[in-house]
Symmetry: C2
Subunit: 479 residues, 2 copies
């Protein structure tokens, strides 16, 4: 039996100006986690959440994380954890969001003051943090608020985890989550996890995100001379590390993105007919790609291959070179030591350690074939695993029904090319299904100037989050 | 009949402390041409030369060069031109040197104050400009001084050209030389040119330098996306300019320095048996190479091939990439536009324009073979020609005899891998033979910290410069 949501929807509409005012107050607090001088504002933002959640009847705790590593006199902002409801008869859903924001200065090119919510006649609400991630975090508060006002009982118990360092590497969070997910911890009885911190694939159609690629990042250092040399004096008589590095980096991938390291492509999970059929239905066009890359230099001419390349196949990018001449103009230097940087986006069923093995073997073989006297050192700089959840899990089927109830359309089931590391942390720590349920759209310019959240995405998104709680409470086990 | 030089030599020895004091006074003036705030010291150094030359009986003029391009309120330092003797029966030798110096700060790592001449117990005279190029410039003054004191008539007329912007690109000098070399100009009656502004190949044996390589410097820009992209989001769906650039830059040269651009090596003048036989006699060892490059990563294991690779064969160096990620750490960027920089050192008989043709053709072909949608733009950034003089010219044979008279050994006949552009300017403007007659040794650390000139090189070098004037006056026409 489908949940009855009309009362809730009406209440959200009724309170919409209150909800926008809540967002206005939050945006006005410049909670920039990367800026030490703004740390007090990050803390102020955490206090705002504590106050709001308390007034909504939640049990709230502000959990200190201690001093920021490497900065003795600066404490990390607290993690705000909250519980709303503890009925043993209800499912318990763990919500994650972050209350810190990216840096922003009017002088960066903002059309409006970044820390003053500014709404234009098309309902675009500009302000730093509007879409990333204050809007979605407040969406959960709004959902509780509207239920409370409409005297509708929440059909699930809610656990909340709102952090203040997401834009600066989530320092301290992984340990915290792992600890609290253990028996007796704050998150111990979670049945599923929902994260609202990403975006629709376009602007019209909501999506549920069930996969993220991983990333293995490598350095290839080649060194020879004891110091940088003058190319006039030594060109032709000394072996040059840059010459070797160009050969090594040129052997990794071709113009059309095909990875040329033996063994990598072989690890990729085969494409089933069932999965293949998904891509055709996704709301996306090649024009969308061209618009977002600002050119027509895409690899594929069709939507299906483009989406598969972004979501379910690995890619290899050469990012740059450390130690070579990188400024404008001309300099006749032979760099003594150059470090190439490249990364591989990983997908199921690539094992991180085996990817490393293939990379190291290939790079060493290419270098050995050069018979160079220079010295090679190839290293993994960091690795983050890919993540894929089952979109057939009740957590997802519930969310899909909620989308239909609010937007009258089935959501696209999407994956993303980039990583959201906390997803994997929650999945590992809780052992439960994680759902990525975005509120904002692809045009929201998170991390950029003129970040915004459309009024529609905020208000209908608040309806979606609340509806999801009803469907996830009612959904039969499955997936 | 060999010139009688004993009287001159004795006078030089007698005045040696006076000459060292002259160098001390010159080093004490921090005439750093690259530092606007030191421009008054560059001018002060020019005034010092005017005063010294005048007291030595020369006719001296301080020629203004006008404001420094791009700096309205800052005048270029003057060119000091001087004439000593104007007998129509004598040959006229044009001398070039520079009185400005590289920047130097004690904090850069100098063991002594850079602008206070400091002489250690091995006779090493430390100070900025000691070897580059105040020592050699004062060497000429010392030679005149000793002749005057010993009442020995100079057997040649001298023209002098001492500039104050050499370490900052010799701004304004080319036009000045061209103008003054024309009929009626200050340098119009020069019969030969002598430049003392380079170094011995080692520390024991003097050399005469008769060739320099040229340099054609190229940029290869590859662009695609409208802005930098996130490799997680777009990796695999967008063609990446760095991928293409690695392929292009990897096609230019191999580990052992062999240029792989068709047509380049074919332009190189063939090695005659006569030329080949020169290299074996040069005072140089593979250990010298390893010491100067700070490693054993040289291309050749023998002296002859090493010297030929530096002096008479072209080389290609990849210097770096503009626009890619170049800092430490890891950044997951797909750079939108990357500009590779490389240069080719040119030698006889390579024509600069034909080198460009070969480079452009090759780069475009390699790129075309990639069938990339990205855009390629390959450009020549700057070109300077190679230069080779005839070491059989009387200017050289005279200098060789002077070396034997002072050092009791035949000089090595060397070429250099790098360029000294003013050499070509003088040769073109005057149409006369140019000789590079170095005073300092390979260990003098010009442009580096702890620059020095050995007392022996300065005093015996003063004898050499004076002796050269006697031999060049007496040498029969030839070469």
């Amino acid at each position: 039996m489908a949940p009855k949501l009309d009362g809730y929807f009406k209440q959200v509409d009724k309170l919409s100006e209150t909800f926008i005012d809540r967002l206005r107050k939050a945006v006005a607090i410049p909670s920039i986690s990367a800026d030490d001088d703004r740390r007090q504002d990050v803390v102020k933002m955490s206090e705002f959440l504590v106050s709001e959640l308390t007034s909504l009847g939640a049990h709230v705790e502000s959990r200190p994380l201690g001093p920021q590593p490497g900065k003795r006199d600066l404490d990390l902002p607290p993690v705000i954890v909250a519980r709303h409801g503890s009925s043993p008869d209800k499912r318990t859903i763990l919500l994650y969001g972050h209350y810190d924001v990216q840096p922003a200065l009017k002088d960066d090119g903002w059309a409006t003051e970044p820390f003053a919510l500014s709404i234009d006649d098309k309902g675009r609400m500009y302000g730093r943090g509007s879409t990333d991630d204050k809007g979605p975090v407040l969406g959960w508060l709004n959902a509780i608020h509207a239920h409370r006002e409409a005297r509708i009982e929440l059909p699930v118990n809610l656990l909340m985890c709102f952090e203040g360092m997401e834009e600066y590497g989530s320092e301290g969070l992984d340990d915290f989550i792992e600890k609290e997910a253990k028996p007796g911890g704050f998150f111990a009885d979670a049945d599923a996890v929902c994260i609202s911190d990403n975006y629709w694939l376009g602007t019209e159609k909501p999506c549920l995100t069930y996969g993220l690629r991983g990333c293995n990042y490598y350095s290839v250092a080649i060194s020879g001379p004891g110091q940088d040399l003058h190319s006039g004096v030594f060109g032709g008589s000394a072996q040059e590390p840059m010459t070797d590095l160009m050969r090594v980096l040129g052997s990794l991938v071709d113009t059309n993105g095909k990875i040329k390291i033996p063994g990598i492509n072989e690890m990729v999970a085969p494409l089933s007919e069932e999965e293949k059929s998904i891509y055709g239905g996704i709301s996306y066009t090649i024009d969308n790609l061209h618009e977002s890359i600002g050119s027509t230099t895409g690899i594929y001419e069709d939507k299906e291959n483009t989406l598969m390349a972004r979501w379910r196949y690995p890619s290899l990018s050469v990012h740059g070179i450390e130690g070579a001449f990188s400024a404008g103009g001309a300099k006749t230097v032979i760099p003594a030591k150059v470090i190439g940087k490249f990364s591989i986006r990983t997908v199921p069923d690539m094992e991180s350690g085996k990817v490393d093995e293939c990379v190291f073997k290939h790079v060493k073989e290419v270098f050995a074939a050069l018979t160079s006297k220079n010295t090679l050192d190839v290293q993994l700089m960091h690795a983050g695993n890919w993540w894929v959840a089952s979109p057939k899990h009740w957590n997802y089927t519930a969310a899909a029904k909620a989308v239909e109830a609010v937007f009258h359309t089935k959501p696209d089931l999407t994956r993303e090319g980039g990583s959201i590391p906390v997803t994997l942390t929650f999945e590992k720590a809780t052992g439960k299904n994680c759902l990525l349920l975005p509120m904002g759209s692809s045009t929201d310019a998170a991390h950029s100037i003129n970040e915004k959240l459309d009024r529609r995405n905020y208000i209908e998104g608040t309806k979606l989050l609340g509806s999801y709680l009803h469907y996830v409470a009612a959904e039969e086990l499955g997936g």
